[in-house]
């Protein structure tokens, strides 16, 4: 159920993550509890399956690295990502539940990613594999409180504070999230380490409507632990009803020449 919860982190790399986290339908704003707000975000964020084309722009020290990708996702546990830009063409990722495999065309080999490697940034981005693969719903991992209301990029938002529940060990100890009152899309999120230090900030710069859904189509992740480092994720095209076969999420597809 990793797709349902983590709003921003997921959105970045495995396309699945981005989409799902960002999706939300227009729900009339009314007096609701913090838990209800979060559950609505989770519920609206979940989609059964999708295929999308996206661009990833990683900026560091004044240089931009652009990567293009196509991703297919099904439910909350399966994702397949293939990079299509010239330099990374053929690099593929397969995620099934909490396991991840990669295929690098230069090595011509399928590699299972070790658990500790999940803490590394995916393809040099500011989003780790672990963040992308996080499966627990935010409402399950955090105690949620309403801290007020503030506008973000012209959107009136609920301000939610999330604190890790005792016994839970999510990727971040606390979070602060600004959720659009109209669209139930997270417009901004601050992520804090156990020490209380803010380590990342995710900001939604563009939201588009697809049928009855709102989707964050441009999200910027600032990594505060690195100087001048940020990752921008842009969804260019999305299909909510792609053709998916049993082969789509398999090592056969991953290692296909």
């Amino acid at each position: 159920m990793w797709m349902k919860r983590n709003m921003y982190m997921k959105r970045f790399f495995i396309a699945t993550i981005f989409l799902v986290g960002a999706l939300a339908t227009g729900i009339p704003a009314q007096a609701v509890t913090p838990l209800e707000i979060m559950e609505k975000v989770d519920q609206q964020a979940y989609i059964g399956k999708a295929r999308f084309e996206a661009t990833l722009v990683m900026s560091s020290r004044g240089r931009d690295v652009v990567k293009e990708m196509v991703a297919v996702t099904e439910g909350s546990s399966r994702a397949f990502v293939e990079f299509t830009n010239a330099r990374d063409r053929g690099t593929k990722y397969l995620k099934i539940d909490k396991e991840l495999w990669m295929y690098f065309p230069d090595a011509e080999d399928i590699v299972k990613i070790s658990g500790h490697m999940l803490r590394q940034g995916m393809m040099g981005s500011d989003v780790s594999y672990e963040e992308a693969l996080e499966s627990n719903r935010l409402v399950d991992s955090y105690d949620i409180s309403l801290a007020g209301e503030e506008p973000v990029n012209g959107e009136q938002c609920y301000v939610l504070e999330l604190k890790a529940k005792p016994g839970k060990n999510p990727a971040y100890a606390t979070r602060k999230m600004w959720v659009s009152k109209e669209k139930y899309v997270s417009m901004k999120e601050q992520l804090f380490a156990q020490s209380g230090k803010m380590v990342k900030v995710a900001t939604t710069e563009e939201v588009r409507q697809f049928g009855g859904r709102y989707l964050a189509t441009k999200v910027v992740m600032d990594n505060l632990l690195k100087k001048d480092s940020k990752t921008v994720f842009i969804i260019k095209k999305i299909d909510f009803n792609p053709a998916i076969t049993p082969e789509t999420f398999s090592l056969k597809q991953l290692g296909k020449h």
Binding site: S60, A86, H116, M117, L251
Partner: protein
């Protein structure tokens, strides 16, 4: 070993003539030409992807170890163009080709100066459908889960001195039948008639079967191989998973045959871990019962074919530290634990612009005279110190 003392144009004429003169290469050229003609008038032409890189490498070599016995410093300059053509998924068919053009000048160096000026790394066609995948042609076959040591890989084993280097392609066929998302059975037949190891062998084929699956978040594989070149039959086991740190293990049992009159075990185990986002470490240990426990017992005739080592016990360690988003420092150590030969490889890699990579590397050989890495007599060895700068432009 061939020396490069002719003019540039002579090198190219010599290289092309030699390349075309090889019967296997002629067949590959015909194969490729027919393939291109077949797809040229179809929609597949539009899907053709072209990529590759241009790489310039400069090497300085110092100290003992020269094949000629001359210890004076020498240099080598290599320009390498790799061209990749890829035709993915056209009506269940695909094709892939990789060509190399190498221009060398300077001193001879084992493993480099004997490169062919023109060569084909890969040339294969694929047919994929839900029931099976078939790949026919010159390709890389990949068995094993280790980095420096893959004893189960009898087709394209990595070179422990440079595990990330491109593996040579082999002519053969691979048929893979999926048995679920994470499980499959592969059958491989590799023809080694064009290689030195297969020359003169009546039936120079290596065949194998490998079943792969995932149980409890651990990748597992079991394989059998019949190597007619060496008259060897093997049973292989592999595992890769997590136990606090990442681990992998593989073992091979070689049944008695022409090469050995008793069954032999070879196994490799490795662990890897990272600290923070910047530091990564890997350690692998290899034990090979069929190796020589002293230089006098080394089987030099087997080196470079189905194995990349001669002794019984080895340790490989690699450390990588990412200094920033574009650069990293690395250090790897390979040690033959019995003859005490060691190869130390420090390196630095940085991406100077998008698609342009600069690598600096040193290769330091500390080995007793007559050992695996510093063999006595005319056997190819490595100089005591090599310094290398490499500029790579990917396109």
């Amino acid at each position: 070993m061939r020396k490069f003392e002719m003019s540039n144009s002579g090198i190219w004429k010599f290289g092309i003539r030699k390349f075309v003169g090889n019967r296997c290469n002629r067949l590959l050229i015909v194969f490729l030409t027919l393939g291109l003609l077949a797809v040229w008038g179809t929609g597949a032409r539009a899907a053709l992807q072209v990529g590759g890189y241009f790489e310039t490498t400069g090497q300085g070599m110092f100290g003992g170890g020269s094949p000629s016995g001359d210890d004076t410093p020498s240099y080598l300059l290599a320009n390498h163009l790799k061209l990749r053509l890829d035709l993915p998924d056209y009506k269940d068919f695909g094709a892939h080709a990789e060509f190399n053009a190498v221009h060398l000048s300077g001193a001879e160096q084992p493993g480099i100066s004997d490169l062919q000026p023109i060569s084909i790394d890969r040339l294969y066609v694929t047919y994929n459908n839900p029931a099976f995948d078939l790949t026919v042609g010159k390709q890389r076959f990949s068995w094993g889960m280790g980095t420096a040591f893959r004893p189960v890989d009898r087709f394209n084993p990595p070179n422990p001195v440079d595990p990330s280097s491109t593996r040579a392609g082999k002519n053969g066929v691979e048929l893979t039948v999926p048995l679920g998302q994470l499980s499959s059975i592969s059958a491989i037949a590799v023809h080694d008639g064009g290689g030195a190891s297969g020359a003169g062998v009546a039936n120079p084929w290596t065949t194998g079967l490998r079943a792969r699956t995932n149980v409890g978040q651990t990748d597992l594989a079991v394989s059998v191989a019949d190597d007619r070149v060496r008259d060897a039959r093997t049973l292989g086991l592999e595992a890769k998973g997590d136990l606090l740190v990442g681990y992998h293990a593989e073992a091979v049992y070689e049944y008695p045959g022409r090469a050995f009159d008793q069954g032999k075990w070879t196994y490799a185990v490795g662990v890897d871990n990272s600290w923070g986002e910047n530091l990564f470490a890997l350690v692998e240990y290899l034990h090979d019962q069929s190796g020589g426990d002293s230089p006098e017992k080394y089987r030099w005739d087997l080196l470079g074919t189905s194995r990349q080592w001669l002794g019984t016990d080895y340790l490989f360690g690699a450390l990588t530290y990412k200094t920033d988003d574009y650069s990293s420092l690395s250090l790897s150590v390979l040690r033959n634990l019995k003859d005490e030969g060691t190869i130390i490889t420090p390196g630095f890699t940085t991406e100077v612009a998008d698609g342009v990579t600069l690598s600096l590397k040193g290769i330091l050989v500390r080995a007793p005279e007559g050992s695996e890495y510093r063999p006595a007599g005319p056997l190819p060895g490595m100089r005591e110190a090599t310094v290398e700068a490499r500029l790579k432009l990917a396109f």
